[in-house]
Amino acid sequence: MTQKELHNQRLVNEANARALHHLTRRHFLKESAMGLGALAMGALLGGCGGGKEELAQTPFDAAHPLAPKLPLFPGKAKSVIYLHMAGAPSQLELFDYKPALMKLDGQDCPQSLLEGKRFAFIRGVPKMLGPQAAFKQRGQSGAWVSDHMPHLASVADEVSFLKAVTTDQFNHGPAQLLMHTGSARLGRPSIGSWATYGLGTENQNLPGFVVLTSGGKFPDAGKSVWGSGFLPSVYQGVQCRSEGDPVLFIQDPAGMDRDLRKASIDAINEVNRQQYAEYQDPEILSRISQYEMAYKMQISVPDVMNINDEPQYIHDMYGTQPGKSCYANNVLLARKLVEKGVRFVQLFDWGWDSHGTDSNLAIDVGFINKCRQVDKATTALLLDLKQRGLLEDTLVVWGGEFGRTPMMENREGKQNPFKGRDHHVEAFTIWMAGGGIKRGTSYGETDEIGYSAISGKTTAFDIQATILNQLGFDHEQFTYQFQGRPFRLTDVHGRVIEEIIA
């Protein structure tokens, strides 16, 4: 008997032993109470849930969960790269130019702006804080971009700015969840999960939804922000490491050759298939396909996920730091993934929470450094996608989970050691580019000190509706049947922001 056959025999024996165990009296007594309960529960839930028609509508094929599926209408975008600046960058130092705020710099905030409002940290009467950056109008569109992002300023004509985005969550976790899952509470699928659920992945050898993080910390909302919620678990974001090997254990260990790996996966899958024949649980089929995907990824991942193969001038363009964990590396990787047909790439970069409590979080120190970390790479991404003809069908979104106050933060009513701004829900800026979005426009306006939206107000739901629309889905019809009712990413909200669609 060869080593391979021995190996397979062991696995099959183990499975058989487990199956026999199920026939024992002890097992029957232990499980039957629960089992009968679950049976009754299932009947009850099934009773109020969907009929045949709805099941047929649900495009979930457990055997090929990531097979590409059909959008409602031909979408303009095939992929999305969502660049989330976790912590929320200040719109008042980047895109929302408010000269009138400068005149109020250092003065007490008027009561009218404080009455009935609640802030995360501001207490009592804070001072106003003028823009801490020099602004210029850029390109033909005349968009205001500050000197903090000189590179992005040079491509302002590629971008559509949404200047009056609002939210109703002033803490990072809930606000990030709202932005990415359409609910401030846990349990909903993220937008990347919805996108892969709807469209699958074009490349069968790679996951459809990849998550990359930088900045030293995960987003405050944790992994739920790219979770699949109630969608089948196969649609959750696959987080890749941004330092060292992007995927661990991708190489076969010493002594394990490719054939043996294939044989063992075949054996495991055979066991799983027997298991499926017995229990008919579709999650088992997902598991089989995940094993197959992992096997294929052993070949595709080292090739796609290795940014070192890129020529030097591309590295120079993005400003990557090979071997380190940084935003620029992730952005370059994102481009490579999209080029290979990955549907949704979600980047999180931590460190934008400029309260002024220490120098890294100071609006005039750490914030500027954060801008410098992302400016070159973000610009390079837009230009690189463009020159490869990919920007036409790749939607790029850049923004945070909320904005920052026109007032200087005074934590606990005392002056902070550095200049900083508190969380602000009433107005912030997000920009989008490519993927059928207009070039060089701006939608929405804030008042003269950037405190609240006065026109063209948009919400997280509107942004989600717009992203889905560009992918070819009507956010009002794209649903998943769960707990007896169809769920939507945008729940009962959302409007496609037609004003920025080309």
Binding site: M317, V365, Q387, R388, G436
Partner: protein, 468 residues
């Protein structure tokens, strides 16, 4: 009180039209088939039609007093309406008394003609006198938008006639015109537009905040005084901004845009007018052909899938297909003959396999509906490009990382749908652009090679001045 009665005019006015027409039809039927016993029905419909005509006359009279319509037309409508009512009464009387039998039919014809005339004048009053004929004049001139003059240079455009008036014409004139002046306000004449209606001066040149016009436009949509009424098409934010700017800069009727002051805020809105009618950005041509196509052959689809390609309808309810050979690692050139049974359906094609070269093009070019072709990183050369000019629907071509030269690209001359070509990492350089742009006018040719310069600030960090 009067106005309430008047507002019931539209409720009643359609009754006599329908009922008297029914009477006419019944009478005609009686003449054709005298044995049909419809005499009583004619009398009844004449009676009801007559009563509703009288009610319409009364309500119409009050409406004409309470609202502001063109006097001549209202007079015409009024007397025609009264004539209808009177004739209906006379005819009913004659029929009931069974007198003047041979006049019944001619009188009925006159009655129907009068009803039609009254209705037409009434319709002109509410919808505008050109309402009925507008679609016909549009047919003559090609289409609706063709009539609008396209602004090529917004700075040279007339501020009122080309920027402001088209907005007012579309959203306001229907109720404030020569024939109909709601609230006593007529907008199609400069002096009357400035003067305003019953509620006061509409425009104070140079001061956008005081005039009645701007005030009403900006009121919340639910407000009673908001204009246009909430059920009518509303002005967009851009249109509001343009009107505000025009009033603030003096509400001039003869100056050009460049002669007026332009604050920063309005510049982009003005620029957006340029080159496109109705301040709408030019729409991208649809990537998918509009004509429906037959269903693809299932066995042909399966053969392509067996190659490892991903082939899918572009959307639900569409038979057009998109295909990507990205995962089809064993693909050979002659495998592409398998796409021929699908040549009508294929639209978006992504090759992505380096072994594909010019010999595969003869299959590809038979797929006439391809608008979008990604041949990046394939072995296509100028010889293959010569064949591609048969793809008349081609809009997007990606030849990044191929051996195609400028001469090869020039051969696409004459492809009118083409709008973007990506030729990064080819031998095509910026220096070739003049010749290429001449051969391919209006096509965005992207040779790539972008660089993001390294600034000193990219690699340095700001340090806190002196930590407190």
């Amino acid at each position: 009180m009067f106005s309430i009665v008047g507002h019931f005019h539209p409720v009643f006015v359609h009754l006599p039209i329908g009922i008297l027409l029914l009477a006419f039809i019944l009478q005609w039927w009686q003449r054709r088939k005298p044995e049909a016993q419809v005499g009583q029905a004619i009398n009844l419909s004449l009676l009801v039609g007559m009563i509703s005509a009288i009610v319409s006359c009364i309500t119409g009279y009050f409406l004409s007093r309470s609202d502001d319509y063109d006097e001549d037309m209202v007079n015409q409508h009024q007397w025609l309406g009264i004539a209808v009512a009177v004739l209906a009464i006379v005819l009913y009387y004659l029929r009931v008394k069974q007198q003047g039998g041979r006049w019944h039919w001619p009188m009925m014809i006159v009655l129907v003609v009068l009803v039609a005339l009254t209705g037409h004048v009434g319709g002109s009053l509410t919808h505008g006198s050109d309402y009925l004929t507008r679609p016909f004049s549009a047919i003559g001139s090609g289409d609706d938008t063709a009539k609008q003059v396209i602004i090529t240079n917004v700075q040279e455009a007339a501020a009122y006639a080309q920027v402001v008036q088209p907005v007012l014409q579309e959203k306001c004139f229907s109720c404030h015109n020569k024939n109909k002046q709601k609230g006593g306000f007529r907008m199609d004449q400069p002096d009357l537009l400035l003067k305003g209606g019953k509620t006061g001066v509409s425009i104070v040149p140079g001061n956008a905040e005081t005039g009645d016009l701007m005030k009403r436009l900006l009121l919340p949509k639910e407000h009673e005084d908001h204009m246009p009424p909430k059920e009518k098409p509303q002005l967009t934010e851009q249109e509001l901004a343009l009107i505000h700017w025009w009033i603030a800069s003096g509400a001039s009727f003869d100056k050009k845009v460049k002669d007026l002051q332009q604050p920063e805020a309005i510049k982009s809105t003005l620029l957006a007018l340029q080159g496109a009618p109705k301040s709408e950005a030019p729409k991208l041509p649809d990537a998918i052909p509009a004509e429906p196509v037959g269903k693809a052959n299932d066995s042909a689809l399966k053969r392509i899938r067996d190659l490892g390609a991903v082939i899918l309808p572009v959307s639900r309810n569409s038979n057009y297909l998109t295909v990507s050979f990205m995962n089809a690692t064993g693909l050979r050139n002659h495998d592409l003959q398998l796409i021929l049974p699908l040549k009508e359906q294929l639209t978006w094609v992504r090759m992505g396999q380096p072994v594909i070269d010019d010999s595969a093009m003869s299959y590809l070019v038979q797929c006439k509906n391809i608008p979008r072709l990604q041949l990046d990183h394939t072995g296509i050369t100028d010889a293959g490009m010569a064949q591609l000019k048969q793809l008349t629907q081609l809009q997007y071509l990606n030849i990044v990382g191929t051996k195609v030269t400028a001469q090869g690209l020039q051969q696409l001359k004459g492809l009118t749908a083409l709008r973007s070509v990506y030729c990064y990492q080819t031998s095509i350089r910026k220096a070739d652009m003049d010749g290429l742009q001449q051969a391919l006018p209006g096509v965005a040719i992207d040779t790539g090679g972008y660089r993001v310069p390294l600034l000193a600030t990219d690699t340095t960090e700001v340090k806190p001045a002196n930590s407190k």
